[in-house]
């Protein structure tokens, strides 16, 4: 083997080792770096139901029930296909609102209710002044009423 060939073989070997390592790391990420599961995945038993995990989705419209004289709150997380009831005691982030994104960590109790010990708000990538948001909302409402009529 000439030194030039040796060098070439060395580089090829290095590059293929690198490619294999990258593939393995990405593969591991794929299965482990899932930050949260959707309600549909939970219903389909794809989530590790016997362990603590996170569910993510939108807070279902009209589902928030606050208990008087305490920090306990019930709500439902939905991905518009399935919905999971959640109970949580504690302080909620400011962005926690009906129809907005949420990620809750906890366990599913025997009665099927997800008992969360941490609730985080997940916001979207849209930034605009309140007037613009209001105009958009009104436009959407106008469109809806014209569709139903």
């Amino acid at each position: 083997m000439k030194p030039r060939h040796k060098k070439l073989a060395f580089i090829t070997l290095g590059l293929s080792a690198l490619a294999v390592a990258a593939t393995l790391v990405l593969n591991a990420f794929q299965s482990n770096l899932v930050f949260f599961f959707s309600p549909s995945q939970v219903v389909a038993k794809e989530a590790p139901i016997d362990k603590r995990f996170r569910i993510g989705g939108l807070v279902e419209e009209g589902s928030i029930q606050r208990h008087e004289g305490g920090l306990m709150v019930n709500f439902a997380v939905t991905d518009s296909a399935e919905s999971i009831p959640v109970t949580y005691t504690g302080i909620l982030p400011d962005l926690f609102k009906e129809g907005k994104g949420v990620v809750a960590q906890g366990k599913i109790a025997a009665n099927g209710i997800f008992e969360a010990d941490e609730v985080l708000a997940k916001h979207d990538e849209n930034y605009m002044p309140p007037e613009a948001a209001m105009a958009l909302e009104q436009a959407a409402k106008a469109q809806q009423t014209s569709l139903t009529q």
């Binding site: 690198l18 990258a22 990405l26 990420f29 794929q30 770096l33 899932v34 930050f35 949260f36 599961f37 959707s38 993510g56 909620l92 982030p93 400011d94 962005l95 926690f96 907005k100 990620v103 941490e118 609730v119 985080l120 708000a121 997940k122 916001h123 979207d124 990538e125 849209n126 930034y127 605009m128 002044p129 309140p130 613009a132 948001a133 209001m134």
Partner: protein
């Protein structure tokens, strides 16, 4: 008139060229920084869901962009230095690393300050945040590896290999919000769709990004000049320069 660009790949001529260019980039960085911060904090409107807290975006996003971009530039020059054995390219790569690490830290830090009031947590181990933290470790690893090897040529080679291997992390950071479920939201500004931001907000962010560019170029040139002096201290032109400085 053709300019002989290769002339500037010699450390001696690059040294004097960089010296002339630094003030231009420092002035540009200052102007863009003042304009960007003014637009960001006084002109741009309040956000409809995050209120005033979203304004950290004007520092966070340019810093995060810069952290990824500088890594690619650093790896590029390190790779050129490795492939063609050009001394100046490796010096530029070494000069970029601290600025890149600074922007990575800034992105993580401001992101944490933003995460607490909005998400309800300083830190989560989601794909975006974790891969950006790995980027910080890559920068620190590059700098410590180079610092640990005494012979500068060998340090350049070892650093270049590390830098090139680490490039794999950049698309992972960028696409993490698309590939996996993350707490971090998707991109507001991307190449293949229109921005999901009000125009004034977008301008503030882009001008701040320009300011970071100018700052990074100025810093890289300054640091490259110091590295050139250090490594070329045995040459005739450096001692000549030294004599001139003393005579002044």
């Amino acid at each position: 008139m053709a300019i002989n660009w290769f002339k500037y790949s010699s450390p001696a001529s690059f040294y004097s060229l960089a010296g002339k260019m630094i003030p231009i980039f420092v002035i540009a960085a200052t102007i863009f920084l003042i304009a960007g911060l003014y637009i960001g904090f006084f002109v741009a409107p309040t956000d409809f869901q995050q209120g005033e807290a979203y304004r950290i975006i004007f520092i966070h996003v340019p810093a995060a962009w810069m952290s990824m971009f500088l890594y690619v530039v650093m790896a590029f020059w390190a790779g050129i230095g490795l492939a063609f054995n050009t001394r100046l390219s490796s010096m530029v790569a070494t000069a970029i690393a601290p600025t890149g690490a600074m922007f990575t830290f800034l992105a993580l830090w401001t992101g944490s300050l933003w995460g607490k009031p909005m998400w309800g947590t300083w830190w989560v181990w989601d794909a975006r945040l974790t891969s950006e933290l790995i980027l910080l470790f890559l920068y620190i690893g590059f700098m410590s590896l180079q610092a640990a090897i005494d012979d500068p040529r060998r340090a350049d080679k070892a650093g270049a290999i590390l830098a090139l291997v680490g490039v794999i992390n950049i698309p992972i950071i960028y696409f993490s919000v698309q590939w996996w479920n993350t707490l971090h939201q998707g991109a507001s500004v991307s190449l293949n769709q229109s921005p999901t931001m009000a125009t004034t907000m977008l301008w503030g962010m882009l001008i701040m990004a320009l300011a970071s560019w100018m700052y990074s170029i100025a810093m890289t040139l300054m640091r490259t000049r110091v590295i050139i002096l250090e490594r070329e201290s045995h040459t005739a032109w450096v001692s000549e320069l030294h004599q001139k400085e003393i005579a002044r």
